[in-house]
């Protein structure tokens, strides 16, 4: 049976997007986060959805038009490549210096977050959204105790930034029980 994994499909779509960018003489820089970044780090995440999340790029109209062409060709969701994650601020500390580079494309400077940063963002995502896919991804990422703690610090930074120190103090009991939960669940 001729089957194609969702990762292969997305990489083919990116390859085609790169060709269109080349024809239009456009160069872009994408910093990939989310499950695609987990895959690019070489971890065994065997199933995913057909989308790529990126940050640090404000998409031009021309770029969006090209991604729509690819979406039609591959029957991907209209926002198969999206910048929804760009709203995360502040970003994890030192993210710029910990990015990895994938140089397979001529016109897409493809960067992706390393495992350390991916863990921080997933810990925060799981605390905020409480989605099963986030704890499942954390299992794949298999963090150490200190990586979990960095993730919790990043979560605290987010709460402090968006809601202030008083709210953070109110959330501390829950954050501590969250940390205990993550230790139990991810370090066994």
């Amino acid at each position: 049976m001729n089957t194609q994994s969702t990762f292969d499909l997305l990489l083919n779509a990116l390859k085609d997007l790169n060709s269109l960018l080349k024809e239009s003489n456009l160069h872009i820089e994408l910093t990939v986060v989310g499950s695609m970044a987990i895959y690019l780090n070489g971890l065994d995440i065997n199933r995913m959805t057909e989308d790529i999340d990126y940050i640090s790029y404000d998409p031009s109209e021309e770029f969006i038009a090209l991604t729509e062409r690819i979406s039609k060709k591959y029957k991907l969701p209209s926002d198969w490549i999206n910048s929804r994650a760009k709203d995360i601020e502040p970003l994890p500390k030192n993210i710029e210096n910990s990015l990895k580079l994938d140089n397979r494309f001529s016109n897409i400077n493809l960067k992706f977050i390393n495992i350390d940063i991916a863990i921080q963002m997933k810990v925060y995502a799981y605390y905020i959204r409480g989605l099963e896919k986030d704890i499942s991804d954390l299992k794949v990422l298999s963090p150490t105790k200190s990586q979990i703690e960095k993730g919790l610090e990043f979560t605290k930074d987010q709460i402090r930034h968006h809601h202030g120190e008083t709210q953070l103090n109110k959330d501390m009991v829950e954050l501590n029980s969250f940390l205990e939960f993550l230790y139990d669940e991810l370090l066994k």
Binding site: M1, N2, T3, Q4, S5, T6, L9, N46, R47, M48, T49, E50, D51, K75, P77, S78, D79, Y126, Y127, R129, G130, L131, E132, K133, D134, I135, S136, K139, F178, F181, L182, D184, E185
Partner: protein, 216 residues
């Protein structure tokens, strides 16, 4: 008789035919009974949370054209232990998304009667920091699913243009649409075997086939 490895591969291929965005895509068309697909999902869709999310979204979408009676029949024959907890969760979700929740009550009863109650089930191999209330109702320890992101998990156009789905949506009665879909893949199979494969009684299949031949 189909072995479980074949059944597993066919389930995933059929799910790709229906438009799931979380399973490997295949261009090969697969026959599978729609209600059996729903029942077997309790076994195979739980492979990971993204596939399960896609599966629940699909079940919610096709719920109005599913036959609860057939699902009941297949579930009694096929499922065991914790699979009834998963079926209960699927049906509860359908009830929350349909305008006719009453017709699903018998399946809720069946699932409640047979569900596993001794320990809480970790469906995806992990516990939840905060257990989703609907999962909790079915003794499953799991976080929530991203059920609002329909386009991310399911290609609805592919689902709605699938031969069997399209026929049922057009108002073709279950037994007729099942026969017509089955015959694309199994032209020469006996009526008796077909009746077993599509989970209808022989008399209905015989009568429907006769009528279909008349209009062919």
């Amino acid at each position: 008789m189909m072995n479980s490895s074949n059944e597993y591969k066919r389930w995933f291929a059929f799910f790709s035919n229906l438009g799931s965005r979380t399973v490997p895509r295949t261009n090969k068309k697969i026959w599978m009974d729609l209600e059996e697909f729903v029942v077997l999902g309790t076994r195979y869709a739980t492979e990971n949370s993204r596939t399960f999310t896609s599966f629940i979204i699909t079940c919610n979408k096709v719920a109005p054209i599913l036959s609860p009676f057939k699902i009941n029949k297949i579930a009694k024959k096929t499922l065991k232990n914790t699979e009834f907890n998963v079926l209960g969760y699927i049906i509860s979700n359908i009830q929350n998304h349909t305008r006719n929740p009453g017709q699903w009550n018998s399946l809720i009863k069946l699932s409640k009667k047979n569900m596993y109650n001794l320990e809480t089930i970790n469906l995806f191999g992990s516990k939840a920091f905060k257990i989703d209330t609907l999962f909790q109702e079915w003794n499953i320890d799991s976080s929530s699913l991203e059920l609002g992101e329909i386009d991310k998990y399911l290609n609805s156009e592919k689902l709605l243009t699938h031969r069997l789905i399209h026929q049922r949506l057009s108002g073709v009665k279950t037994v007729f649409s099942d026969i017509s879909f089955y015959r694309i893949f199994h032209e020469k199979t006996s009526l008796n075997q077909m009746a077993k494969d599509i989970f209808h009684d022989y008399r209905s299949v015989y009568q429907a086939s006769e009528l279909l031949e008349l209009v062919a």
